[in-house]
Amino acid sequence: MTYHGELPYLHAVIRFNHVSKAFAKGESALLDVSFRVAKGEFVFLTGHSGAGKSTILRLIYGELSPTSGDIHVLGFSLPNITAREIPRLRRRLGIVFQDFRLLEDRTAEENVAFALEVTRARPDSIASRTSRVLTQVGLAAKMHALPNELSGGEQQRVAIARALVLDPPILLADEPTGNLDERAMRGVFQLLRDINAGGTAVVMATHNLDLVRGTNHRTIELRRGEVVYDSAVETGQREGLA
């Protein structure tokens, strides 16, 4: 059973419309997926490994192109996006991964500043913006530490700080707690919720159902590339019946 997000998301920042994705070998990663994410919404993408969670995120940040269907992210039409437009799209997205993807030979501060430098931010604003965002993630005291001097949770916070420093309207997190112990996982998750409370839409792929159950955030469940459950649709249907 596939649910299509038909709720009136007037301020949708992400819109998937009958999106399918097949890889070269013919394997289908996504099948007719439709949903919308509203401005400032927190959405979990859940499902087993290979269900299509990461594929959805990769489609959102333009690393993959859909085989069919339409994707709109922050006004960019992804099937038609040009190679020149992809960097512009990514500057408006924060992306966090399970393996942190930090530059090992640069300090926490340099890793965060790097995102500003590559987007040609004003040099005189880089230090203050970097400091602000590292304070926000609770790492002001460790800004000069190298990644290998930080715990897993701290490294993920640096990655989140790097994702946030460009003030993106959307934060994409692909299993951001997958490599963390329980305590660090809770800390990082709370940080993502705090960021969301500040108005940033968060799309978090996870297979950790304990995290999902403990909140009332919207959940989209995937199975073999299909959306099998969308809590927003369920709620809408219930409200419609009431």
Binding site: P87, I95, L102, F114, V118, T119, L166
Partner: protein, 288 residues
Amino acid sequence: MRLLFREALLAFRRAPLLSTLSITTIAFSLFAVGLFGLVAINMRQALRGLESRVEIVAFILHGTPLETITLAADDISKFPEVFAVGYVNEDSALAQAQVELEEFKDAYRDLEINPLPASLEIRLKEGHRDAATVAAVAERLQGFGFIDDVRFGREWIERLDRLRNVAGLVGLIIGLAFAAVAVIIIGTTIRMTVLQRAREIAIMRLVGATNGFIRGPFLLEGAIKGLLGGLLSIVFIYAGYILFGRNTPMLSGLIFFEPPQLLLGILFGVALGLGGSLVSVGRHLRNV
């Protein structure tokens, strides 16, 4: 711009071994090209030495007034191909023959009448010493009424022509082959650098860096490596030149590159570094 230089220079600090390997590879590749270049310019110099001996001798009929000869010599010197015209009178010709032809020394001494004619010796400008031009000038000289005969060693000049053409063609082919090998080796070395920094490139792309921005530091890094490799290759070539050129009596007349040629070599290194980087990064960016 500051960031561009910082990132390019950081690459040397982060991977000193790979950077050294790249520079040394570029240096040795250019060393091979340069060594061949050195052989080529010395061959060209040797050919030039032979060419400078190309001369047309126009024998003058006995009894021609000196005034006529002087006026004609003046006309001939104005031919566009002609570098210099010399007049050798009968007496000088005899004296010269006595010096140059040892075996006939005594025979010439006993002569009562000088059998040798006066002549005009015409040397041609560089670039006009090929068989066709020499023959054309010789034919024009035949047009002067007082010229009895014109000699210029047609066979020898034709052989020189062939030698020049073969040397030029072989030089071009070997030079291109060396340059192609250098390009491949340098391209592979720079590709290793790019692969070593694949993770960094992926992160740059994730945070929204444009391809142009990603390419910049790599191009600068490639250009710097090319520059250093080029300079190092000159040191190697000069060392080789000193070692063999000065210590081998047979090679004592060897010449070295002129400053503009050295500059061209360094620029070639820079171009190789730039080109290698451009291709390697471009290919990598297309594939990720």
